[in-house]
């Protein structure tokens, strides 16, 4: 039996007995970032495919939310900072080694792009909208003409943003639960699934909902595969990773993870969506809201559990 204790006494707030330095702000931000990334990706994807008139909610309506989603996410990030007045230091350096460093630059780029995208569609959503200044009208005309050109960088940056929400965690070698490269793709797919849910909620067109429903089922299957893959990788890993996996496979996170994320957040909504495609009447709000809640809880659990896992020595 090996027992370790602090002979000198040590009870540092948020560090002991186990790390808990990141609270609700980070998982909420990861959720919002993934959601925004997914919406922007779908908007640019269907624009590039030339389907913007068939996918009204995807291309025109949902992206109007994105600047607000991103700003709320950034606000949460700001709340997380303990030395808030120095936040501008993020933008005085470019540090490619630091995921948080390049992530903040990606946000700096994609937020204005999403604002420009929304601006080009704002008149379609609000016909009485008036830009007031001539220059703004000129910019709008240019944006409308060049939507396809904007769509390409937007799609690429959306994917980077979606993956970044996972890499932010996976870059920490010291936290075995996070230290797996599958986390980037997993968070990307999960973010896209939550975006599909929001689009389905906003869409009034049955055909569009059907397309997004099909995409969402596929995304959920991929996500479930990634989750299995995540735990398979851990169980074949070192002791600290096996311990990390066991938090979810019998440990204290098992019940919330399987109940709210896997069953209520993924499998059940996917089954409902399949029923809807088969022609049964399912109110779309049920699977969509379940996916959103599942996605949010998933990030909360990952951030909370990851901080508990650590190296043994």
């Amino acid at each position: 039996m090996k027992e370790e204790l602090f002979a000198s006494g040590r009870n540092i707030p948020n560090i002991d007995p186990y790390l808990n330095i990141w609270h609700w702000q980070i998982p909420s931000y990861l959720f919002l970032g993934g959601l925004a990334a997914g919406i922007l990706f779908f908007a640019s994807f269907f624009t590039i495919m030339g389907k913007e008139h068939k996918m009204e909610a995807t291309v025109k309506k949902a992206p109007l939310l994105v600047p607000f989603i991103l700003m709320l996410g950034l606000f949460f990030l700001f709340l997380d900072l303990k030395h808030k007045l120095y936040f501008w230091q993020l933008y005085t350096t470019i540090r490619l080694e630091s995921p948080m460093g390049w992530g903040s630059w990606v946000l700096m780029i994609i937020t204005p792009i999403s604002i420009l995208w929304s601006a080009s569609y704002v008149k379609e959503a609000f016909p009485n909208w008036d830009w007031k200044y001539k220059i703004l009208n000129t910019i709008e005309a240019w944006l409308i003409k060049n939507r396809k050109i904007i769509a390409w960088p937007m799609a690429i940056y959306a994917i980077i943003l979606g993956i970044y929400t996972g890499i932010l965690l996976s870059a920490f070698n010291a936290r075995p639960l996070w230290n797996t490269s599958i986390l980037g793709p997993l968070f990307l797919v999960s973010g896209m699934s939550t975006a599909a849910a929001v689009i389905m909620l906003m869409s009034k067109d049955h055909k569009e909902r059907k397309i997004m429903g099909r995409i969402d089922i596929l995304l959920i299957i991929v996500e479930l595969f990634f989750i299995i893959h995540l735990f398979m990788g851990f169980l074949a890993g070192s002791e600290v990773q096996i311990n990390a996996a066991n938090l979810f496979l019998g440990g204290k996170f098992t019940a919330p993870f399987f109940a709210f994320v896997v069953i209520l957040g993924l499998i059940f909504p996917a089954v409902l969506e399949v029923f809807e495609l088969k022609g049964y009447k399912v109110p779309i709000v049920v699977p969509a809201v379940l996916i959103l809640i599942g996605g949010l809880i998933f990030r909360f659990l990952m951030v909370e559990a990851g901080q508990i896992t650590r190296y043994l020595y």
Partner: protein, 177 residues
């Protein structure tokens, strides 16, 4: 120049003098500490072994905290000492997550704080506060690149280990066993 520490776990009595000396020298706020003493008990009586060791930032060669810092606040000083520039730190907590040794904490003033190897004393040619007060002289601080230094000599003649080398951080605090 490469500063490092070699700590003799067989001499340490766990008195915590190093902890108090550090807190006094560096004005560490009450309730926090930059170094601490761990007692590892292995086995049950009568087959029991105890290891006492004083721990702190390992000033790693491959520091995950320096790598993940988004503003460059965590950086290397001469001799490989890892420092936090308070005016650049935004308090995001990334370095705290990145440290396998939980050697960093969030200072009540907002920035992240940790052991500095008492760089202000080292620059004056003195030992870090913890080393200088140790009643059993279990800590050796010095330059690994200086073949005549005591630390090089100690590491040559004794078996030693470092903490969680599998984390790939190349820690620069060595424990003589």
């Amino acid at each position: 120049m490469r500063y490092a520490m070699a700590i003799d776990t067989r001499k340490c009595v766990g008195c915590s003098d190093c902890v108090v000396a550090c807190q006094t020298e560096n004005n560490v706020p009450v309730g926090f500490c930059r170094d601490w003493v761990v007692e590892v008990v292995d086995g049950t009586y009568p087959n029991v072994s105890i290891e006492l060791r004083t721990e702190r930032c390992n000033h790693c060669d491959n520091s995950p905290c320096v790598r993940c810092c988004p503003t460059g606040a965590s950086h290397f000083e001469d001799g490989g000492i890892v420092l936090v520039d308070h005016d650049k730190c935004i308090g995001c907590g990334a370095c705290i997550q990145a440290c396998p040794y939980d050697a960093r904490y969030s200072h009540p003033d907002g920035y992240v704080d940790k052991c500095t190897f008492c760089i202000h004393r080292v620059r004056e040619g003195k030992n870090p506060a913890c080393v200088s007060v140790c009643p059993t002289s279990c800590m050796n601080f010095g330059d690994l690149d200086d073949p005549n230094s005591k630390i090089v000599n100690v590491l040559k003649n004794r078996k030693f280990k470092s903490l969680a080398p599998e984390a790939g951080t190349k820690p620069q605090i060595f424990y003589l066993i």
